[in-house]
């Protein structure tokens, strides 16, 4: 529902809408390497093709870089977060991604990044790649596997913790032009990347293909969100007010609802700071009527905090 004369911040209308998010399972993996470049190579590939659980199996992204004094082995590192709809699916995705993207990447090691939670295999099964030459080592109560590889040893922790999490927090940026919408999202993503415990899993953190439930084609359960598509506004029940030429969405997965809310607030605030002079008209949010998702993030409540 458009804002009307409700909340307007720096000329940007905040719709009286809510983002509908779901309960998920998540873990964090800490990747270290000889330098940040190689840690990023591993992190980027391990979180690749992980924009949406609909077809990727999990949603994943880089949370942040870690300085040497923040990592278990004193090397530079990168923390990644992975989210799936079930612990079982998450375990499968962890094994595939760590096995194909971190084990294979020169100089890397992988550690559990979540204390507690239900343990799932990180290196427990990957160790068999060592063909009998692998060795385990317990250090300070944590078990690691040392798998011989061609550049030395791949060191990987036995398991990582899976915790309940929240996936699908979102907001929509409605702007005058496509470049203005994108510039606003870039500013939002820069601010949101400073918030801990969250990822924005889509390319560059931004998604342009917002969806609605259902389709005229029976085989599809979701289809383009025509109410927000500007090029067909004249033939649909458009929710775009006059002057809006492009809409982009930012989706957020976080370890807790508070983390998601904090990221949404940081992102929206960054956009509001640009304000109407930069072509930003409205901020809205995607939901399914509130019946599907357990978590509701009301935009006005978040921005009123």
């Amino acid at each position: 529902m458009p804002a009307g004369d409700g909340m307007i911040l720096n000329g940007v209308a905040i719709d009286d809408e809510f983002a509908e998010a779901f309960g998920m399972k998540a873990t964090r993996v800490i990747i270290t390497a000889q330098n940040l470049t190689w840690a990023h190579h591993a992190a980027t590939t391990a979180t690749g093709f992980a924009t949406s659980v609909i077809a990727c199996g999990c949603e994943a992204g880089v949370e942040r870089e870690l300085s040497p004094d923040e990592t278990p082995d004193g090397r530079p590192g990168v923390a990644i977060l992975l989210f799936a709809m079930s612990g079982k699916e998450l375990a499968k995705q962890i094994e595939r991604r760590v096995g194909q993207c971190i084990l294979t990447c020169p100089t890397t090691a992988a550690y559990a990044g979540v204390a507690g939670g239900e343990p799932v295999a990180l290196g427990r099964n990957l160790r068999f790649f060592g063909d009998g030459f692998q060795a385990s080592k317990q250090v300070a109560g944590r078990r690691y596997w040392r798998v011989p590889v061609m550049d030395g040893e791949f060191l990987v922790e036995e398991s990582t913790g899976v915790v309940p999490a929240v996936g699908g927090g979102n907001f929509l940026v409605l702007a005058e032009t496509q470049p203005q919408a994108l510039a606003a999202c870039e500013a939002a993503i820069a601010a949101m990347r400073r918030v801990p415990n969250v990822i924005m899993p889509f390319p560059g953190g931004v998604v342009r293909s917002g969806s609605k439930v259902g389709s005229r084609y029976k085989a599809l359960s979701a289809s383009t969100n025509d109410a927000f598509c500007p090029t067909i506004r004249g033939i649909t029940r458009s929710q775009l007010s006059p002057g809006i030429g492009a809409v982009l969405e930012i989706v957020i997965d976080g370890l807790t609802a508070d983390d998601v809310a904090a990221a949404m607030r940081a992102g929206i605030q960054a956009i509001v700071d640009l304000g109407a002079p930069q072509g930003i008209h409205r901020i809205s949010a995607g939901n399914y009527g509130g019946k599907l998702g357990k978590f509701h993030f009301r935009l006005r409540e978040i921005m009123a905090r």
């Binding site: 278990p72 082995d73 004193g74 090397r75 080592k137 690691y144 030395g152 040893e153 060191l155």
Partner: protein, 271 residues
């Protein structure tokens, strides 16, 4: 914190088994009950107060003052709390302990930490033979926890050790890590003959090069192993050479053996 203090009144005429002190919790017992605890001295039973003066209140801390190398099985089966020995300890220090801590300001006798499964033992002085080793007839020596010896260890340190960390700041005698199954042994000084003899798995980290290793160990080369960095960081702050290892680890030369017995153990020598 309340502490029960037992002060040895005279050197005992025979060996004393102090395992009854940890067989059951002392907390909540009256001074009279503790004074009447039966101890085995040589081949006879005596009351505890025939050997020790009892002061303080039983709780999480037990202090044994005037330690003596005839005081055996101090901390046997300890599951929590701490024991502080002022002076020496006899044989079987911390035998089969599962938690808590024991500190000895003097030396420890043979078979310290045998069957230990958890907790921490720190001996400021030397440890006798068979430190963290298996008792005759038993299959496994130390099975968990941390043992830190400030001085030297005798022969057969870590014999049949299964898990945990055994850190010897000084030197170790002959057959260090013999028949070792797994775990970590680190030696700051020299090691005697036949280090790692019949070792199956596990790690021996030597800060000084050994004069020789058994011929059944093969040189695998020099590496900056990440696992060494993890160990260094886990030990950071401990007294002795292992508490000041570089946080980034250190390059080591890796020897693997004993090839006569599986050959999956490793002796890492600082290089």
């Amino acid at each position: 914190m309340s502490a029960l203090r037992l002060t040895l009144t005279a050197r005992p005429p025979a060996r004393v088994d102090l395992s009854p002190l940890t067989a059951q919790p002392l907390a909540g017992r009256s001074a009279a009950e503790i004074a009447a605890l039966p101890l085995v001295l040589g081949n006879r039973r005596v009351r505890l107060d025939e050997l020790f003066r009892v002061t303080g209140t039983p709780g999480q801390v037990l202090e044994i003052a005037g330690g003596d190398d005839r005081l055996d099985r101090i901390g046997a089966g300890l599951a929590g709390g701490s024991i502080v020995v002022e002076g020496d300890a006899g044989a079987y220090l911390g035998q089969r302990m599962t938690g808590g801590s024991i500190t000895v300001s003097g030396h420890a006798g043979p078979f310290a930490a045998t069957g230990m499964k958890g907790g921490e033992i720190r001996v400021a002085g030397n440890a006798g033979d068979f430190l963290a080793a298996a008792l005759p007839g038993e299959h496994q020596g130390m099975q968990g926890g941390l043992v830190l010896v400030g001085g030297n260890a005798g022969d057969r340190a870590g014999d049949r050790m299964r898990r945990g960390a055994l850190l010897i700041s000084g030197s170790a005698g002959d057959y260090c890590a013999s028949r070792m199954v797994a775990g970590t042994i680190a030696v700051g000084g020299r090691v005697g003959r036949s280090t790692g003899m019949a070792m199956r798995r596990g790690t021996v980290l030597l800060l000084s090069p050994p004069e020789h290793l058994p011929p059944t160990f093969n040189d695998c080369g020099r590496f900056p192993l990440t696992i060494v960095a993890l160990l260094a960081r886990a030990w950071r702050g401990l007294p002795g050479p292992f508490g000041v290892l570089p946080a980034a680890g250190l390059p080591v030369r890796r020897f693997m053996g004993d090839l006569a017995n599986d050959g999956k153990g490793e002796v890492l020598v600082r290089d």
